[in-house]
Symmetry: D3
């Protein structure tokens, strides 16, 4: 599925395999893993391919780990059974918030794949114990803002990525002072804004999934 947030477009796909990584075998539990990548022309100025450079950059690995961790928070691995869902999030066009778009889209791809598996009786129950959505928030010109585009992102004093479940609890909170450190009041304002944004995305996810 293709996720679009403003100028950001991420292609999210889920692949199901009826086996699990070696360290998980014979545990009765499934696994979900994610890979995030950007096409060289997703950015305004071309970025070199990591396949050509022969090594994954730190940013790519960090985001892949974040997506996987966030998505795993919404799963009952026992109900999934010994299956692996591999999520691929490929950024076709980047305009800020690619990692949160990837998480939000990956959840929909996962829910879709889980539906497909349940129709075929490949799961032992409903592995989806929660839905997951993510937004980026930041402080631009002293004002908290939701879903920054690339230009705002660069200008933001503080940048925060928040992953929430559909019922409003937090799965991941990552806030970074890009310029001046931030105080507790700013942090609180950003968390409020992010929680609202995630709730709205949850609504859209449900719509797409026909719930």
């Amino acid at each position: 599925m293709l996720v679009e947030f403003g100028g950001t477009r991420v292609l999210c796909a889920a692949s199901v395999q009826d086996s699990v990584p070696r360290w998980r075998r014979d545990s009765g539990l499934g696994w979900v893993t994610a890979e995030y990548a950007m096409l060289p022309r997703a950015t305004n100025t071309r970025t070199d391919r990591e396949s050509v450079k022969g090594r994954l950059g730190g940013r790519t690995q960090e985001i892949s780990r974040l997506v996987g961790r966030s998505i795993r928070a919404c799963l009952d691995f026992k109900a999934l059974g010994e299956n692996t869902v591999q999520l691929d999030c490929d950024v076709l066009q980047a305009d800020g918030g690619t990692r949160t778009a990837a998480i939000t889209g990956a959840y929909v791809a996962l829910a879709d794949a889980v539906g497909w598996m349940r129709e075929r009786g490949l799961c032992k129950g409903d592995p989806l114990i929660a839905s997951v959505a993510a937004v980026s928030v930041g402080v631009v010109d002293g004002q908290p803002r939701l879903d920054l585009c690339y230009e705002e992102d660069v200008a933001a004093g503080t940048d925060m990525n928040v992953v929430c479940t559909g019922d409003g609890r937090f799965v991941e909170v990552q806030g970074t002072a890009e310029g001046a450190p931030f105080d507790r009041a700013e942090l609180d304002a950003l968390l409020d804004l992010a929680a609202g944004g995630c709730a709205e995305l949850t609504r859209l996810q449900n719509e797409v999934l026909g719930r």
Copy 2:
């Protein structure tokens, strides 16, 4: 630009840089290079990422070299000036003939970029001395066929990729006996078919480019 041939979809982009590789400096000549890649879910069964494996596969490098070589055949590097055009061909969905779709699309992206450069006076004349298009042909059930889809490709006894200029001359001919070796008559029939296919693609390219 997005090229679609049946079920095959390739995203082709051109990036212009006002410098050339080191070995080409102070020659007054430009350069064009190409990179071909497939998203992991372009294929029916997921393919592992080459960035994660840490090395480019032989197939990827071979096709990248073919695309670059084919596109360079239509260029006057002196007119291009000391600029580099980097072509990126990313396969979003694969259903046979991805390398020929990449060449055909890369030419359009190049022509577009050259137009952009000429508007800004970045070239010394018209670097496009020819247009280039490519098709795959093969023998399926004893019959020569144009533009095979994946299933036909697998079934084909002989597989041939042909790159032609807009005036019908050959830039590259690559024929491989997948099963039984082929004789001269079969080779001739495939070349005829391919030349016709390239002529049709040339017409479509001109249409897209508004010529």
Copy 3:
């Protein structure tokens, strides 16, 4: 310098170079970069060397990036001048909280190196605009806890790393639900606890630095 937090021991060293990376040249600004690594026997069960495997793991790169980002938050790069400080944080023994120990120790190593530079007149003023310290906090058996050891870390439902300046503002907040997602109240309790822990570490850093 050797930092010890309970069973965790991290060797932090600063190296000064009178040049900056290429992309920063002739800007008049300095740079600070950090590398984090673990000795194979730092952990209870031996971990394979990343130099032998030939690639840096995602976790290592993620923590190296976090340490560098956190430390850069306390610097005036103009006052540092075109010098680079390279921080090395090598974990000799790991018992939880290695990344926060690395940040806290790296700040002391940096302050030390800056002192050495100022004595020799290598800086244009005082580049240290703030001090930086970090703690890990988590919820164990429903209770917020400071500075978890390895066993507590594994048992923790939520794990949070917080980097603060000496005056109590936030540089980085990273909270992850290891088990069940956490609500706003838990998040608030952890942030309070962490702020207190950082204040205590700031006091110890000042003591060590003889302020």
Copy 4:
């Protein structure tokens, strides 16, 4: 065995293993694979080693794939049984046409290895259903020429590598316009010339193999 074509010298060796790659196990079928490489001083100007650079170049992989594909065209894998023949083609001295010399020599090394296997009863019949030989042809000063040396190769307007079976059918045809694109008449002349060259090489192969 050492193959010499003018100034080109290629060492071709076949190694037999009584197993097949994992994806081929329990199929009853054998496999043949090839690796092509050049010594650093095979060329006039020293070339850096790919082992030192830590990655195989695109050209090396492309030729290795071509040699393997060409040789596999002459084999009945059922008769070979679950054995693998590994062909190594190492260029000691290069003066044009190294890839076609490698194919022609690799066939002889293979035929030799198959003879050795049949003497020991390791095959279930005769796996060699055809012989394979290859030549390079090109247009120099407007004239089609067979087996170009390095200087002619550089000067050639069109360069073509042709792999034929002993009975004159085509296994692989690869033609590239190095300078100006070529027309159908030139292509036909080159194919005629190549077919004749391959027939002559087939005769020499049979002589060497004592047939």
Copy 5:
């Protein structure tokens, strides 16, 4: 354990695994392997990390091989049983003679690990058939010298590393003319000196091991 020879400090650790490498399975024999590495700030001027460069340097591999080979000379692999001891020698501070300090310390770590294994009945007897110690010797200003520090090492005309067993026999002798080649008399003088140095180290090892 931490070994100190003058300004050189090496952390040596032994890890026991109840299995052996694949090529050694079902032989009834154990295995010992060693890895040597230097922290980036062990040297006076910072050295880049091999994990960051993505490949092990030749010097690191050469010393790792030497340590492993030397230590294996003192072992009865049958008595060790199908266990592997992995030795890690990490140089925290380097001031000459790091490879010989690593060997001397690795033996003590091994003896310690073997004691631990014997207490638990994991060995079939005493696998330690000899003790092993190593020194570096060299000629400085025409005089043979024992255990050179970094400055002497640089100044030395000839550099020799000698590994001896506790009963005074040689396990490894590596002498290199850094400047002028050396004659037999110099070689003899260095060997005498080295044998004496190893005897002294053997005494210290026994002391540490409480023998």
Copy 6:
């Protein structure tokens, strides 16, 4: 040039470049470097290519370093001027003693290249201050033996490689106890034998070089 010692055949080539590595520029001094490698079929059982594996093995790097170090011992870098000689030693066939054959052959290739340079006035004098030759010796069935073939090498209790100058001094001595440690008397006997072997090789080198 091709060196043959019994069943061992090594191709040694020298390449001259009129520049030096970056760290040596503007020093007025030249440089010599060496690379050692084995073809996959040099050994009885095929060895995998290091270029395909994507990393140089420890043994290859160790021998390359040894060859370079040994050859550099016979050179006056000032007389060589700011030129680099790159030595390539490629083992076509291995039957024991490949590293010493490589050193002995590399010296001849170097002397040849130096002659070529002097004819063209590229050196400032005679850079060859000594000749260098190498042998392997070992103890087989209790008897010291010169130039072991592969089978003897495997059987040898002690293995020693000795590099000498033409006037009988030592450049490198590397002795390893493969089985039981060796005593001083054995060491002395091996050194005597090696010195004699090197003298004989020096005579042959002079013959080949027409001195």
